[in-house]
Symmetry: C2
Subunit: 205 residues, 2 copies
DNA sequence: TTCGTCATGTAATGGGTTACATGATTAC
DNA sequence: GTAATCATGTAACCCATTACATGACGAA
């Protein structure tokens, strides 16, 4: 998931690690970002795998094997997505197994790079996500119906709020799907961005 | 967090592991539960630490040291919370460091056992959680304001939906806090609760 | 010159998962 | 008798975090 997000960002422009982390925070929800302890090892792996390249050669390769661990600064390193990987990126996004939407994080990352994704693939991912969230909703609903009376006020409140949240997510996804379908129907013509009538006032039960 | 939830459940009634897992699913959001690979090791640790006890002695203790790993069924094992720990449970809940509300999961577990928690502690935890979520909201708002125009429709939608979600959570917490304060005022007799003007109608931004 | 921010990285650790392995009990 | 479900547990792994370590560069 992290590697996926990195590829997505480098698809737009080359960057060095520090900058990457800041951008990542944006994509992953504006809240907390990934730590360096995850980021740099990931970049290392990806460079080794040939997914990305750097403007500078691997400094480790130049050193004798028994050199000290080489910590500290070695100059700013700009990472670039490999040309072949960049071309194949839309295929990677198109891998629409359950992993694409079962986990909310993975789904979010995919959504963030939807502009590099074919319309039909977008639709598949959105619908998969909706199915997943709907299943969650049914589970919560059943649980609430079964246990109502038996639970204390706080647990009940927690579940009620959770149910409302997933409910809202389903509606949100439905709107995205509608928009997507409408535009797919218009088929390549003028891409007049339609204003989605989102934001019905929350009917607080 | 897991250990905390286990203690909370065993505080209500003794249970065996399998049952514990089902109840845990309820507490942790009705969706997916913890796996056995987490649950049983946790129970083992907690028994070793003297937090909980079983109706049967540790079967490993009876076996010679070179015995095979003892896999498979050995009878249903009922876990009970230790008397001292049960009495001190409210103290544990009262540990209101940032860890109690910074992580949504921990907060949820604490909320689920609020009935074993003193009113003032409940209030501290709820207010701490609200501060955390409000900070998140500000972060998201700033990010949205800063980048608006520059981001594509999907990323924008993602952030907009995220912002609405945290916004709803803040309002939800405010309601819980109001109720809590109102009841604290009534129960305490003389202690007049300062009229909190927090239930503003949902001004969906 | 010293402090804050930018910048890169490793090591130890943590908290969880999946896959595996086994067996009791119940319903058909 | 056999299949589904109940029930307990280990081992290998995954992905992330925190703590640590280093150093360049610009501004006060």
């Amino acid at each position: 998931m992290l590697e996926f997000a990195i590829l997505g960002l480098l698809h737009q422009t080359p960057m060095h690690g520090y900058e990457l982390r800041k951008q990542l925070a944006q994509v992953l929800g504006g809240l907390r970002s990934i730590s360096y302890g995850s980021l740099y090892p990931a970049l290392k792996r990806m460079r080794a795998a040939g997914l990305i390249s750097t403007d500078e050669p691997d400094p480790h390769a130049l050193l004798p094997a028994d050199a000290p661990p080489l910590t500290g600064r070695r100059g700013k390193i700009v990472y670039t997505i490999t040309a072949e990987v960049k071309e194949r990126f839309h295929e990677l996004v198109g891998q629409t197994g359950p992993e694409a939407y079962d986990d909310g994080g993975s789904f979010g990352v995919r959504l963030a790079f939807f502009r590099h994704t074919a319309s039909d693939v977008r639709l598949r991912i959105l619908e998969g996500r909706r199915r997943t969230v709907e299943r969650q909703r049914e589970g919560l609903r059943a649980s609430l119906g079964r246990t109502r009376e038996r639970l204390d006020r706080y647990t009940l409140e927690l579940q009620r709020h959770g149910l409302e949240s997933v409910d809202r997510e389903v509606r949100w996804l439905s709107e995205l799907i509608d928009t997507e379908r409408r535009e797919a129907g218009e088929a390549g013509g003028s891409s007049t961005s339609p204003s989605p009538a989102a934001g019905e006032p929350p009917t607080t039960t």
